[in-house]
């Protein structure tokens, strides 16, 4: 037999890096099958390429491996005795068993990178049987997987500004194919980080915050932190990685409970209605009248006293509905320190370029968390609107607001005062430079309008079928092959998809530069600490019971 001819030097004919060959079309129009020997450990999720001629031009087409099946291997009957290795049986019977396994893999065509359109274009033809396949080169993947708009697949994207180095392709060795998402993209068309508890959502949020606060980006960030998980971000103020040539260093500002205030006049009638305990129709009507009257006054610093007085003036001193309203207003608003006639959160203190503001809402109940978010989002949105329309504005730069427990602020069912403004911002915000990030462990509990407007998705381990279903519905780019991966991911592994990506990719999220603040609490540690504390203060007095005065009477979400 003649030895196989190989023309020397021509890289097209060098098959040393070929991992397999196309064996035929797959079930779907965009799928093809190929066969690899065992030693080519091509995993699902791997990116491969082949060359085809499209309209006279030679194109490198990218495809993603979506399935891997053994088509030749030792029979299961060789496994009859767990104590005897199947290879031993194979050896005994003279069956070849070293490197003889064959695998059939399914691959989904992504397309070739169209430099004119700066995205993937479908070649509309499957590779022919026998077409050699290669592992896609790392530099090319770095350039074409995220939506970076590169003009050439050989662009050195590590030099680009405004990118968030999020991690690297899971199927490759650490750092071989770095994934850098364009910050402008996910910060303007909104972001969702979805995963079960403990899968690394907050950690990933931290990574993105770090990237956005680097000297090359200097974002204006606002973090709604219901669990006080982001206290370690302050390390950015001294960490050398965040030091700019011009002396820049991020500002990290914390707003705790005692600085989180809502000016009563900044509430809307609907907010008040939501806070009040079951007001009657008559009460609602009286309140609406009183509220309107207060809006027409010059003063913006009125409180419950002034509102009640106004209503008594309008409806008579002995109006029983106003009486009922007074009792409710005093109980739910006046006795809640969150609401003040004059104090509020000054926008210029929480929003500034190069500043990351963490609103630590740990001690607030969820209704109060919703209310503070509602009022702040409305105010910021109004300022952004003003800025974009050339009017005077307190906020001159785009803002990105990140919500932990996103389903609490934009729930799919039940009433949350914040839902309206979140829907508005997620559908309109991109025009006004106001981006939202939603972090949640219950995607199925998030308002579908809000979730489906989150253009970029970072999805991590999710087992719950209802939540997987919610992701399938709202995450356009999430194909079946990607969804299949979700239950098997481990903490720190994520599927990146949506506007910031040209095609979904399975990524290992990088390590944080600052510490992660949300380590799970050790119960045993806390018990012994508490015990020690109790031992050292033997005389304890019961705290005085002030009744339910501080409670707003609303159930937690």
């Amino acid at each position: 037999m003649a030895s196989p001819h190989r023309s020397g030097g021509d890289s097209m004919n060098d098959r040393s890096d070929v991992i397999g060959a196309v064996s035929g079309p797959g079930d779907n129009p965009n799928e093809f099958l190929f066969v690899t020997p065992e030693d080519q450990a091509v995993k699902t999720g791997e990116f491969i390429t082949y060359t085809v001629t499209v309209e006279g031009e030679s194109r490198d087409v990218f495809a993603r491996v979506t399935n891997r099946e053994q088509i030749r291997g030792l029979p299961d009957t060789f496994l009859a005795d767990p104590a005897v290795a199947p290879e031993t049986i194979a050896a005994t019977l003279g069956v070849p068993h070293d490197d003889t396994d064959l695998y059939q893999l399914t691959a989904m065509v992504i397309g070739y990178y169209d430099t004119m359109m700066s995205t993937f274009a479908n070649p509309r033809q499957l590779p022919q049987t026998g077409t050699p396949l290669r592992i896609a080169p790392a530099e090319q993947l770095e350039a074409v997987l995220p939506n970076l708009g590169v003009a050439s697949t050989t662009a050195d994207v590590a030099q680009f500004d405004g990118l968030a180095h999020t991690g690297w392709l899971l199927n490759r060795p650490a750092g071989e194919v770095d994934i850098r998402m364009p910050i402008d993209e996910f910060a303007s068309t909104h972001l969702a980080i979805l995963a079960s508890t403990g899968s690394g959502k907050s950690y990933t949020g931290g990574v993105l915050i770090e990237e956005m606060m680097l000297p090359s980006s200097r974002a204006a960030l606002l973090i709604f932190d219901p669990h006080g998980e982001y206290d370690t971000l302050s390390e950015m103020q001294t960490h050398s990685a965040f030091e700019g040539d011009d002396g820049y260093q991020p500002d990290v500002v914390y707003f705790d409970e005692d600085r989180l205030r809502i000016r009563i006049s900044e509430l809307e009638l609907g907010d008040i209605m939501a806070i009040l305990d079951n007001p009657s129709d008559r009460m609602q009507e009286r309140l609406a009248g009183g509220w309107r009257a207060m809006q027409n006054k010059d003063s913006r610093t009125w409180g419950v006293d002034e509102l009640v007085e106004q209503m008594y003036t309008m409806y008579g001193e002995d109006d029983s509905s106003v009486g009922g309203l007074e009792w409710r207003l005093r109980r739910s608003i006046q006795r809640n320190e969150l609401f003040q006639p004059d104090a509020n959160v000054p926008l210029d203190e929480i929003v500034a370029a190069g500043q990351c503001t963490v609103l630590n809402m740990e001690t607030l109940d969820s209704r109060n968390q919703q209310l503070i978010a509602t009022v702040l989002l409305r105010r910021i949105y109004r300022e952004r609107l003003n800025a974009m329309r050339g009017r005077e504005s307190d906020i001159e730069c785009p803002v990105f607001a990140l919500f932990e427990e996103g389903h609490r602020f934009a729930p799919g069912s039940g009433s949350a005062p914040s839902i309206g403004i979140l829907r508005t911002i997620t559908s309109e915000g991109r025009k006004f430079g106001f981006g939202i990030g939603i972090i949640s462990q219950r995607p199925s509990k998030i308002d579908q309008d809000v979730l489906s407007q989150c253009g970029t998705q970072i999805t991590m381990k999710i087992r719950n079928p209802t939540d997987q279903e919610a992701i399938k519905k709202s995450v356009e780019a999430a194909g079946e092959d990607v969804l299949r991966e979700l239950p098997g991911l481990t903490p720190g592994q994520a599927v990146l998809s949506g506007d910031a990506m040209n095609t979904p990719a399975l990524v290992q999220i990088r390590k944080r530069l600052t510490d992660h603040g949300a380590g799970s609490l050790s119960a045993t540690e806390q018990w012994s600490e508490t015990y020690d504390r109790q031992q050292s203060q033997p005389v304890r007095s019961e705290p005085a019971d002030f009744g339910g005065g501080e409670s707003t009477g609303f159930e937690e979400l």
Partner: protein
Amino acid sequence: MTIETQPEDTHVDNCLALGSIVSSNSHLDYTVEIYKETDRERAPQIDEREFGQPVFIQKSVSGEPYLVMGVIYNTQLVDPDQGRTGTRLAQSDQGQFTPGYIEERTTLAGVALLGTARVTEDGLLTDPSHELPRWTLEVDDIVCQCPDELTKTFHMNDEGDLQFAYADRILNVGGPLGSDVLLSIIGRLRSMIADTDKNQRVLDVVEQNITWQAHTDRGVIR
């Protein structure tokens, strides 16, 4: 003392001759005429040439002594007085039983080749190979009974692991009885190795596989 007789039994030159080759059906499949009392002073007993009996044929290749290993996978009785139409081991149109060649009532045995081995200076089997033997045997080559000790050595590799690498060929050559030949050899090997030998469990799985396959092939299970 009986120790001295021990090496004699396994010396390839001292093994019992069972018969001689009269024809072949293929490269791996030979027909052997079993010796009768009239041929030899020590003719093989019925249990010495039974179904599944391992055998060998001594062959000298380029001056080196070799063994071609085989197994009795079929037997057949021939009675020349019954006329020339008597049944034959091989396909009917192959006239290998020429008139006058077999003149009396004879037992024929089908021998399938398993592999080869070399012979040590002490006349023992060494370097077993389960690869297809390349050499052709000849008419009148003497087929000997393979003693258990040599059978065992033939089925062990250097690491002391059992090997049956000829299994696929035997299943082919042996036809419907192919699996039974293998099972018979397995049975023999079992009795040659200790009950606690790790190879017993390997034999279990191999035996199970062959039995299962045989039952499937024969339509008992599907």
